[in-house]
Subunit: 353 residues, 5 copies
């Protein structure tokens, strides 16, 4: 099993709100980057301590604070205190086994997402991304460091774009959009794998391909589990009356919602496809069985009577007049040819051949 | 796979609202036609630039602007500016992988539909049609050029009809009606294919027919995916309080809604039918297997004992008194006839024959 | 396929509201009957033209106008004009491929129902019945002429009954009740067919019975499709605040609703039953297969070793001392009896016999 | 089929509200008992006519009128008139093919329930119980006479208990509680039958047990159909604002509701269990098939080559040098032992043995 | 069956509210512990009678009264009287076959939970925990005595923690959290069992593993039945406006709710996994069957013709010229090698080998 469907229960007994990282420990150390931006300018700074954030806060300026690697427990604690984030939220950020969810607090929104990545062996890996959205500050927390948000970062720091002028809610929406668009990439990989499996099956049905298809089905269950809660979540965002989400951002959330619906449609279609492929496989297996049985039956039913006849004239009775006749043997050979001919005609008539 | 269930993710990383055409590039160049109509007259004009539209706008006159071929990105951009259409809507028009949907803006309605077409090999192709409905202007955007809306165009330009007197909302409703009626044509083709497959199966079950039925099942999944969102969409239209949809047009939308329900009923019935056909196929395959096994068993069980007996009297022991007896051989022949007779009677009693 | 699951799409391109009859053309010409009734009297009159209706309208008198055969397009057009019925309603009456539905207009209610009839070959046929209910006039439109409503007509013209005193809404309710009660008759026929199929299957499983059960399943899909919309429809009637439906009639509609729920329960139970019967069939088929294989295996495994031994002593080697021994042959016969005895004991122990 | 899933349609054509008993005619004649009770006393009286009821009505006294046997049509008619019960309710009482339901009238509540009884052959029988609950009178109508409510009757007539002090609504609730508790008894019987079937299956899979399990599945369908409507019914009772149901009785209805949920959970769990048992059966059948095939294959593949070799040296060619050699025969016996040894090793390696 | 899906119906006929313990009788006698706590201190006391509770009640002090073992019927009766707990609640506490539920009374909340425990043979056992939550007193009732709540008890009596400062509603929430976290432990055990079963199956498919997987499926049904009602229950708690649940506690209940959703997701994923594993098993069984059939067919089809030829030349006809030829025998041996070579090539071409 490439991924665990259960979640560790190491925290049983601990009080909720304890800041302990539950999940895979990332290899590299954590890193925090801050991008301050408004309509006029945008600049990226590394962040070493909570004070670096304070220094950049200013009226009319938005901050995107991007934390990679979840071993920054101390830093997170400081952020939690300074920004008055609920201990349970901090705990959810560190425990990377959350369901995707959306929570509205008085001062901020809390959003949990899952990114998906498909490796060469078609195993799907997921990573948790947590967003805490204040009116002028957006925190993102990731387990790993990769190039997923690089395009977005470039658009933000590039000269004047919509991204810079629309605030933290729009930026959060764009982050979600990037994550959801990424699902389509995974879906494409899955589709190619399905087509490959299908071709192999029709060409040469093998148990290994059967197992590969079962593996794909399992991956789909896994992806569906990550994507399904997004539907409710985006509905909740659209219905939310939090002042942090501005009216002009709502169409973009609706757009992400449409994408999520399309991903779900696609996954469901894949599942149906896979079931069809499995049916074809099973049917072709039972068909081969039939073929094999037919050959066996034709051989056996043709030769069994002939062998019997040969056996009869191999008997050693003193009184077997046919044995003495001149034409017995040639006539018998005629019979040896006639019987199969009759049986084959019969089988052909029954459409066995 | 005739169609892709996934959608390209080429746009990952681009800002939403970028006007890039995502979909199949149509072979021919785009073409824009404008039909200005009111109760008294109707006239069709080609449109070369946005100014041509301005020239025909007049109080008491409705415009239907029909754009075929989605390589008119520049033109679309101009339309978007002049008519204040949201960038996300323009993007959705160009990205032809939308789900069918209905969106209400202050000034216009945005409707996305899918037309279906069934080619000779029973593969179903779809095309996206986008409608932007203003109070006095209706835009339609299509990927391809064909005769689907020709009947409607003729009714519009023909002397005085209801179509001309009822406004752009009624025209939009009729366009949807045409698209939905077209689904019935596709459904008819599918039904014929099901019946053909059924006849072939009952006559001579073959793996190829099995694959054909699986293909039909897949097409049904595909059609269902295109049609299902129409149900919600038409419910939303009926519940919408947009001033663009007039009260007297609502019964016609309800009519389209009824048609959509009927299409869905029909598709669901087809799916059940196909499952029944597959069950019959699998049962008939397993039945043939039984038949083959029965023949093999009858032949083997009859001849195996006889061959054994013949083998016994082919042994070369010095002391085998039967070999010397006068009537041994005829008696044995009697046995060779008696044993099969007994076995056949037994099998008949067990209803194997 | 006795019935078509799809509906003709001959009307594609025609404007909605065009009065063209879509459906099976009835053999006989149409006929219109009018029954005028109030608490005191009831009389039946034939109707030749729309004027005959006008002549019988009077305060305190209700009219039931029963139209059989849908080739009365001209008459229907006249009715539509005189009674201000919406063109789409007229179209739905003529196009007999409607889903059952209930629509409330300001002046009238429009109800579409399906009657079911089961012929000898267990094929289910359906017919559309449309009701247009005004405060004092009830129109019924049928495709065919049969005795379905005769009992109701007799109760209406019989001396003083509740039917006459309660108005057109109660009469419409009774018409629906008659149609729904008729579903039970069809359900009874299906149940008998299921029981017959079950008995045949347990007695002598045959592919033909399998096909018959599949046919029954298909009929159930068909019936369900006709009955299911009635549930929503009757809920809508109960929730409707149209003044045409009087409070005292509501309990009777609730009664019809209960009957519809019972029909649906019954159909669902039948479907489960049929699936159980199919499972039994498939299991018994695979069981027969097992039986056949067992017999083959027993025969083959018993005689194959014996035949081998006989073959050994049929060899012609010069040096085979056993051939010369006095007791070889009897001992061998002992072996020929012992080996089967051992094998049979073994098989019995393994519970193969 | 022990029970009919359909309901007779003998009443088709009759006006609703006609008092005709539809159902099994009970063997014994009907009997009516009246228990008058209040906090201070309770007394049981037989009832011969409607006047006996009138005589016992008194302020501060509640009546429970228990009617067993539904051939009391005349009595029921008199009750209907005296207590102003709607004709449709009277009809539903007599027609014992109702779905369980709850109806609120201005003056009374109407409740229909089904009791279940499981006979020795595991067939489930049901009986309809109708309750008409007035503020001070409770009518119960049953088809049969048995001891189901005897415990309740004893508690009512026993010295001072909660049952006597809480009114007709509480009594009705207790009657429902008794009926629902009875479902658990039936469920226990089913569970025992499932366990028995399971043991038999694992011990010695047989078609008869398969049929028995299918029968149990059918019974579960039947029970579910009787129990499911109780859920909605009890929800409706809890939401109802009828003055007949007092606030202090609501917790008891909620209690019955909990029991119903538990029964439904239990039935669903049984269904899953049965499906698991069937899967085990089918898998064990296919396993036996495999076993049989393996034995056949081992025997056949071992002896077929040996028989061939024996056949070779049984040929009568003049020139067959081996026949003359001294060690041919012993060497061949070596071969006859070696070949099986090799094959058996091979099969063991392939894990066939 | 390790657990009973049905519930005893021993109480049929008894009035509701009778205090009789329905469930497994615990081995040890019951024990009651009381922890009085407020922000400043916490102390644990044994409780012998109801008076011990009275002695510790004080303004500003909360009590947690933990009752282990349900043979304290007398004590429970006293508690019920003193704290005005509804008789039905007391009954539900003693009858340990309740569904998990949440009930709001004016003065207290009543919560029923199920804990799960998985023994070595993978059988899942459950125990009922009932909570009665007053503003300042929390009662917990358990059937058994184990260390489940020990961690919580230590946190409560440890110097100053959130647990002590937040009241009985928060303590109840933490108890629920502990129970739900425990489900993850059970889920982990199940996951390990699934992986073990999977490995065994792929390595060496055996009926015993099949039965083990069916057993796991059954356990999942059982767990699901215990967990599912928690979802509604926690939704009800979140929607409840009881003053006992303070606003600051709600986030913690939402946290438990999230955990419950995750458990349900996990269980559903396991079910899908198990179905996949079963499919792989069945497919591999049918694959082995194919393998066996192939070997049989290859052996039989190769040797049957050869044996026939050998039989022919074992016949004893006087006139069989080949018998005299010098090269007959070697040529025949050539044939004996050629025929298998041809057949094997053919089979390899058909991909049987």
């Amino acid at each position: 099993m490439a991924q665990s469907f259960s979640y560790p229960s190491d925290k049983t007994g601990l009080p909720p709100g304890s800041l302990v990282h539950v999940g895979r420990m990332p290899a590299e150390a954590g890193r925090v980057t801050l991008i301050s931006f408004n309509e006029d300018h945008a600049a990226e700074h590394p962040v070493a301590s909570i004070n670096d954030i304070d220094r950049h806060r200013a009226a009319g300026t938005n901050l995107w604070i991007h934390c990679e690697g979840l071993d920054l427990i101390e830093f997170l604690g400081a952020v939690g205190l300074r920004f008055a984030i609920h201990p349970l939220v901090l705990e959810d950020i560190l425990n990377t086994h959350q369901r995707p969810k959306f929570e509205v607090d008085e001062d901020y929104l809390f959003i949990v997402l899952k990114t998906l990545r498909c490796d060469q062996s078609m195993a799907v890996h997921h990573e948790q991304i947590s967003l805490v959205v204040f009116g002028d500050v957006l925190f993102t927390f990731r387990e790993q460091t990769d190039e997923l948000f690089d395009a977005l970062r470039q658009r933000l720091t590039a000269p004047k774009g919509r991204l810079r002028s629309l605030g933290t809610d729009y930026l959060a929406c764009m982050l979600m959009d990037t994550v959801v668009d990424n699902y389509f990439t995974v879906a494409d990989t899955i589709e190619e794998a399905i087509e490959a499996a299908e071709t192999t099956l029709l060409d040469r049905p093998q148990p290994a391909t059967f197992a590969a298809i079962q593996q794909l089905k399992r991956e789909l269950i896994f992806i569906r589990k990550a994507v399904m809660p997004l539907r409710e979540m985006l509905l909740a965002i659209q219905r939310s009356d939090s002042p942090i989400i501005q009216d002009r951002t709502q169409p973009y959330f609706r757009d992400v919602f449409d994408h999520v619906l399309r991903v779900i449609d696609t996954i469901d279609a894949y599942r149906d496809l896979l079931n069809g492929v499995l049916d074809i496989y099973l049917s072709s297996v039972s068909n081969r069985m039939n073929e094999i049985m037919k050959v066996l039956t034709v051989f056996a039913t043709i030769f069994i009577p002939l062998t019997f006849i040969a056996g009869v004239y191999g008997m050693n009775f003193d009184y077997m007049p046919e044995l003495r006749w001149r034409w017995s043997y040639p006539i018998l050979w005629g019979l040896f040819l006639l019987i199969p001919a009759i049986l084959l005609t019969l089988f052909r008539k029954k459409r066995w051949l």
